[in-house]
C-alpha cells in the first residue's frame, strides 16, 4: 500500500445559527496518498469545500470544526499552533480557489502576490523571489511571464488569473495542492487547459492533488480516486474506473445519469435527481439521501449507513448504503 499523506478521520463541522449549532459536515473519513489525485465530488453545499478549508483553519466566521482529526505527514493539522499552521499554509499545502476574479488582491501586482509565499516560507531575498516568480509564471504557461509580474489582476483574463493562482499555490512546491473548484468560473475551453496544466504539473512535481468539483465528467480524466460527498458525509469512495464502472450508491448513480450524453437512446433527455439536499440542522434520522432515494427501504429512514468496503475487506471501493448490493444487481 502506498504511503498516506493526509488522513482525515471523523471530521465534523458545524455552523452557529440562532437555534444553536447545526452540523454541516458529519463525520467525514477520507485520505490522500502520496502522489495521488483525489477528486471530491458533490452538490453545492454538501461541505466539500468546507472540509478542505477546515484543514488549515480557513473556515469563515461562525463555522468551526467540532470533532475529528486530520493527520498530515504524521501531525494532526487541527492541533497545530498558529505558527506551525502558517508553515503548513502555502508551504506544505497549496491552495487554488474557485473564482480567480475575486481570489487575487485587485490592488496588488501579480508579482507582489506571487513572491509572498516565497518570502515567508523560503526566506528568499526579493530579487531571488522575483526571479523564481518569473519561472513559476512560465511553468504555468503564461506568455511573457517576466513582464506579467508587473501587471495587475484586472489586466489579465480569467484563465490567466487562474494560472497565476495555481502558480501561487505551487510557489513553495507543496506536498499537497488543494484545488477548490478551480475551473467553475471559467469558459469550457479554458477549463480543459487548466485541467491539463494541473495534470502535467502533478507529474512533474510529484505532488498529491485534491480537486474539489461538482463536475464528475471533468474529474474523470484527472483523478485516481473519487470521493462522493452528500450532505456532509462520504457516501462512496472508489478508484475512478471502479466508480464509473459500477457505482454502488444511488446518489452516485444519479450524478452519473445527470451527465449529458450525446450517444444512447436518452440523448435528448437530461436526467436529474428529484428533491433537494437536507438543510443543515434538519438532517433526517437515517441515511441523509433516503428522502430522495428511489430505492430507499425502511432501514434507510432509521439507521445511518456506515462507509464499508463493497464485497469484502480488501477492495478499495467503499460505500455508505444499506441497499448497495441491490443497487448493483439492478444495474
Amino acid at each position: 500500500m502506498s504511503e498516506r499523506l493526509l488522513e482525515v478521520k471523523d471530521l465534523s463541522i458545524e455552523i452557529a445559527t440562532r437555534r444553536g449549532p447545526a452540523t454541516i459536515v458529519d463525520g467525514i473519513d477520507l485520505h490522500v496518498d502520496k502522489g495521488e489525485t483525489l477528486g471530491i465530488v458533490g452538490e453545492s453545499g454538501c461541505g466539500k469545500s468546507l472540509t478542505m478549508l477546515s484543514l488549515v483553519r480557513l473556515l469563515p466566521n461562525k463555522i468551526r470544526v467540532s470533532n475529528g482529526t486530520a493527520a498530515f505527514a504524521g501531525r494532526d493539522l487541527l492541533q497545530l499552533s498558529s505558527r506551525e499552521l502558517r508553515e503548513v499554509r502555502g508551504g506544505k499545502i497549496g491552495f487554488v480557489f474557485q473564482d480567480p476574479m475575486t481570489s487575487l488582491n485587485p490592488v496588488m501586482k501579480i508579482g507582489e502576490q506571487l513572491i509572498e509565499p516565497l518570502l515567508y516560507h523560503r526566506e528568499m531575498s526579493k530579487a531571488e523571489a522575483r526571479k523564481r516568480a518569473g519561472e513559476l509564471l512560465r511553468l504555468v504557461g503564461i506568455p511573457g511571464a517576466e513582464q506579467r509580474l508587473d501587471s495587475y489582476p484586472h489586466e489579465l483574463s480569467g484563465g490567466m488569473r487562474q494560472r497565476v493562482m495555481i502558480a501561487i499555490g505551487l510557489a513553495c512546491e507543496p506536498e499537497l495542492l488543494i484545488a477548490d473548484e478551480p475551473t467553475t468560473a471559467l469558459d469550457v475551453t479554458i477549463q480543459a487547459q487548466i485541467v491539463d496544466l494541473v495534470k502535467d504539473l502533478r507529474k512533474r512535481l510529484g505532488m498529491s492533488v485534491v480537486w474539489i468539483t461538482h463536475d464528475l465528467a471533468l474529474i474523470a480524466g484527472l483523478a485516481d480516486r473519487i470521493c462522493v460527498l452528500y450532505a456532509g458525509t462520504v457516501v462512496e469512495d472508489a478508484p475512478v474506473e471502479q466508480l464509473f464502472a459500477e457505482p454502488a450508491h444511488p446518489y452516485t448513480r444519479g450524478l452519473l445519469a445527470s451527465i449529458p450524453r450525446m450517444d444512447g437512446e436518452d440523448a435528448e433527455r437530461l436526467n436529474s435527481i428529484g428533491g433537494t439536499p437536507p438543510e443543515p440542522g434538519r438532517r433526517p434520522a437515517g441515511c441523509p439521501f433516503a428522502p430522495r432515494c428511489p430505492m430507499a427501504q425502511e432501514i434507510c429512514r432509521t439507521t445511518v449507513p456506515e462507509l464499508q468496503p463493497l464485497r469484502g475487506e480488501t477492495t478499495p471501493h467503499r460505500v455508505a448504503c444499506h441497499v448497495a448490493n441491490r443497487v448493483l444487481e439492478a444495474a
Partner: protein
C-alpha cells in the same frame, strides 16, 4: 493623469461661475438692502431719505441690472478684488487672508490627528470583530460620537481651568505650536475620530470576507502582514474620501469651536458677517468654500489611482 487634471479644471470654471451666480442672486434678491444697511449704522437719517439713497445707489452702480452687476462682481473677483466689508470698510480679501490660514492649519492638523488615531483603532477593532478589544474601541467611539462640539468644548475648558491648576486659559490663537491649540484640536477631532473608527472597522470587516484575504492567509502570511498588505489598502480608499470631506467642513467653519476657543478663523468670520448682513464677506467665503470642496475632490481623485490601480485604468480611458 495630467490630462485628467486639466479636464477636471475645465469643469471647475463653469461650476464656480454657477456657484457665484447662485450666491450672488441670493444676496441680490434676498432680504436686506445693502445701501440702507450701510446707513442704518451711520449717524443721521440717510437711510430714510429715498433721494439720497437712490443717488448713492447710482453712484455705487447698484441700480444697474442684475446681470451687469454680477458681471462686474465676477470680473473684480477674477482680479482678486472681492469688494469691501460693509461694516468696517476693510477689503474682504484682507479679512479672509487673515482668517483662512488659521482655519487651514486647524483643519489639516485635525485631519492628521484623526487619521493617525482613528485608522489604526478601526483596523484593530475590525480585525478582532466582536472581541473585548472591539467592544471597548467601538463603545468609546460611539460615546464620543454622541457628544457635540459645543458640549465637549466648554466642558473640557472648565475641566482644564478648574481641575488642572496653573494651566493657561485655552483661548485665542498662538499658532499650531502653541499649547493653546491642543484643546480646540481635540474637540475638533473627537467626532471625526469616532466616525473614521467606525467606518474603518466596517470596511475592514467587509474586506475580511473577500476571497483575496483567504488567499493571502492560505499562503501562510502572518496575520499582521495580511492586515497591512492586503486589507489596509482597499479599506483606505473610502476613508480618504471621508477625510477629505471632514477637512472641508472643518476649514469652512468650525463655528462652535472657533467661537468657544476664540480662534480667529473662517468660522468666526462667517458668523460675524451673517449676523451683521455683511454680504460681500459671506459671498467671498462661499466662493472660497466651494473652491475648497472642488480642490479636495480633485485631490481625492488624484489619490484614488494610487490606492486602486483599477481607478488608474478607468482614468486613462476617460
Amino acid at each position: 493623469m495630467l490630462l485628467f487634471v486639466l479636464k477636471r479644471l475645465g469643469i471647475w470654471i463653469p461650476t464656480v461661475i454657477v456657484v457665484i451666480l447662485g450666491v450672488y442672486a441670493l444676496a441680490f434678491y434676498g432680504a436686506g438692502d445693502p445701501i440702507k444697511l450701510i446707513f442704518m449704522r451711520a449717524p443721521g437719517d440717510v437711510a430714510y431719505d429715498p433721494v439720497r439713497i437712490e443717488a448713492i445707489r447710482e453712484q455705487a452702480g447698484l441700480n444697474q441690472p442684475f446681470i451687469q452687476q454680477f458681471g462686474n462682481y465676477l470680473w473684480n473677483a477674477l482680479h482678486g478684488n472681492f469688494g469691501n466689508s460693509l461694516v468696517n470698510g476693510r477689503s474682504v480679501w484682507s479679512m479672509i487672508a487673515a482668517a483662512a490660514p488659521v482655519s487651514f492649519q486647524l483643519g489639516l492638523l485635525a485631519i492628521v490627528l484623526t487619521a493617525v488615531v482613528a485608522i489604526p483603532l478601526g483596523m484593530v477593532a475590525g480585525m478582532k470583530q466582536n472581541s473585548k478589544t472591539d467592544y471597548v474601541i467601538l463603545g468609546t467611539a460611539l460615546l464620543v460620537w454622541a457628544i457635540p462640539a459645543y458640549v465637549a468644548g466648554p466642558l473640557l475648558m472648565v475641566l482644564l481651568i478648574t481641575i488642572l491648576p496653573g494651566s493657561a486659559v485655552p483661548y485665542g490663537w498662538g499658532g499650531i505650536f502653541d499649547a493653546k491649540i491642543i484643546l480646540p484640536l481635540l474637540v475638533l477631532s473627537f467626532q471625526p475620530i469616532a466616525l473614521i473608527v467606525r467606518q474603518t472597522r466596517a470596511a475592514v470587516i467587509e474586506v475580511l470576507s473577500e476571497d483575496f484575504v483567504r488567499t493571502a492567509r492560505s499562503k501562510g502570511l502572518p496575520e499582521t502582514v495580511v492586515a497591512l498588505r492586503h486589507i489596509l489598502r482597499p479599506v483606505l480608499t473610502p476613508i480618504v474620501t471621508q477625510l477629505g470631506l471632514i477637512m472641508i467642513s472643518i476649514i469652512n467653519g468650525a463655528i462652535f469651536v472657533e467661537l468657544v476657543f476664540g480662534l480667529p478663523g473662517l468660522g468666526r468670520l462667517t458668523v460675524g458677517a451673517l449676523t451683521s448682513s455683511d454680504y460681500p464677506i459671506v459671498l467671498a467665503i462661499t466662493v472660497i468654500g466651494s473652491f475648497l470642496v472642488m480642490a479636495s475632490n480633485l485631490l481625492v481623485d488624484v489619490l484614488y489611482p494610487i490606492l486602486d490601480p483599477r481607478a488608474a485604468d478607468a482614468m486613462r480611458s476617460r
